[in-house]
Subunit: 333 residues, 2 copies
Amino acid sequence: MIETPYLLFLGDAPDQLAAKVAQGIRDWRPENAVGQFRMEGCEADVGLRNMSLAEARVAGAKTLVIGVANRGGTISADWKEVLVEALQLGFDLASGLHNLLRDEPDLIAASHVNGGTLHDVRVPNVAYPIATGRRRRGKRVLAVGADCSVGKMYAALALDDALRERGVASTFRATGQTGILITGSGVPLHAVIADFMAGAVEHLTPDNDPDHWDIIEGQGSLFHVSYSGVTLALIHGGQPDALILCHEPTRSHMRGLPDYRPPTMELLRDMALTLARVANPDCEVVGISVNTQHMSESDAMAYLEEVEERLGLPAVDPFRQGAARLAEALERI
Amino acid sequence: MIETPYLLFLGDAPDQLAAKVAQGIRDWRPENAVGQFRMEGCEADVGLRNMSLAEARVAGAKTLVIGVANRGGTISADWKEVLVEALQLGFDLASGLHNLLRDEPDLIAASHVNGGTLHDVRVPNVAYPIATGRRRRGKRVLAVGADCSVGKMYAALALDDALRERGVASTFRATGQTGILITGSGVPLHAVIADFMAGAVEHLTPDNDPDHWDIIEGQGSLFHVSYSGVTLALIHGGQPDALILCHEPTRSHMRGLPDYRPPTMELLRDMALTLARVANPDCEVVGISVNTQHMSESDAMAYLEEVEERLGLPAVDPFRQGAARLAEALERI
């Protein structure tokens, strides 16, 4: 668990997109952040109060979260200065960067001053067990994608919001670094050792109240040959009661795989459901989340209507419309 | 690569079963071993010449392979004495034990005397790439199981033998520690980081001559919820042209999962083939390997005949009958 509230470090972000982790925290868990820290030349702004490190500490901030991607795969000297000072002021640090905080001797040294913790959320810090397959109490829904990067995390966070609005108990369960930083906990599934992937997902989604929903963040795709094993571990470790199909209709080939076409929604539905029923015979596909960002409003609406009719399932773009209809569909099972 | 030939360390094995790694080397790659080393009280014997360490060195042995499981998860003082002496005599050591050679300071120290290498084959020593999904030259066959421990490695090694007997170029590609010790190389897939599983399998089965067969050792099962992700990474990283279904018909539940029934052969065939065709649209199921060790000869033959008729595929127990009919079936595609 990463201690909240956060101060969001935007560094010298060259544009708004570079700060997408900070934006995600701002969008989905604004209560987790007291403010933002911007360095000279920073071109990103997530709309929180600008604060110095000392001001944020006074406001109660416990952790400085690196909410921005770095350039060139190194932590620059300019960043380092801020991070060291934060540790000296008693902050913990949290980062999803590829290069790890724990590999930087000056950060380790500075962390000893006040006993600050260095959270590298991209790597596991738990020895996960081997999955037992035992049925657990409580309910679970998993977002499964036709491809990578089709909006699975967004759909899951929107669904979590929509359930809460309806007074349904739910928890978003992060399985990637951005989700972990947004919520403060989770499993970096991509970095888990093969034998323990499904066990890590069981660990993430333990027994719960019978009416509680775990909203499990999806990863990869059964149809993406680089990462499909991770996806199947999510399906079998999560033993979902419900699946949401996620899709980006304008894509002509699988992400990073020019020779692979994305599957149809029907093929995704059948494959995911057949596999999910190995772990949970009662699993059902309850809805479809479509990322229509590259379509006009009218094309998007026409497409959603067509898919909805074809598959007989509610189809929404959670960014345009929210996920209320997916939440309704979940409540019916 | 582990240097051959080996001397097989049987230690103080309490029975023959404890020495199954050594037995596997003796059965499948006898040319890889000059002899066996047995300690006082050893109850296993794989039928090779008993040799001292010094005799084996004179006979050309390069690596002392731990061919036996240890008890209690520690490397005992008695074993240690032999292993240290072997390193001093210039042997490399190779082990698939859970507790690693490289974690033992006295073995590390002894390895420095003659520059001996400590091979812990249970953990990867390569930074595997992310899978690209690019089609590779040469042909590949993968053994997929209804469950764990149904004879996939045995079937693959028998098939490799049968192909060679027919003059077909083939290579057994090990994906677990026993197979790696038998052949001297491979990928310990269970210990690979999630993101790199399929890439590790691509790395293991690179471009080859158009008529060459890679016989890829299977792991886990699509229907075994603890390990199914590993199996799917094999299917998508291996992009097999052919699948062999592997099965143990007397099992009432999945290994280690009392609440899960094994799938039918039909279900295994359909699921494995549908997933395999994502990576290789031309993939076919060519045969069935049945482990009939818990059946009488007549029951086994009746069962094989029934399955063969039902699925329209050659069905053999490679232990009882060899894998010639599976090799024939492969040659037809």
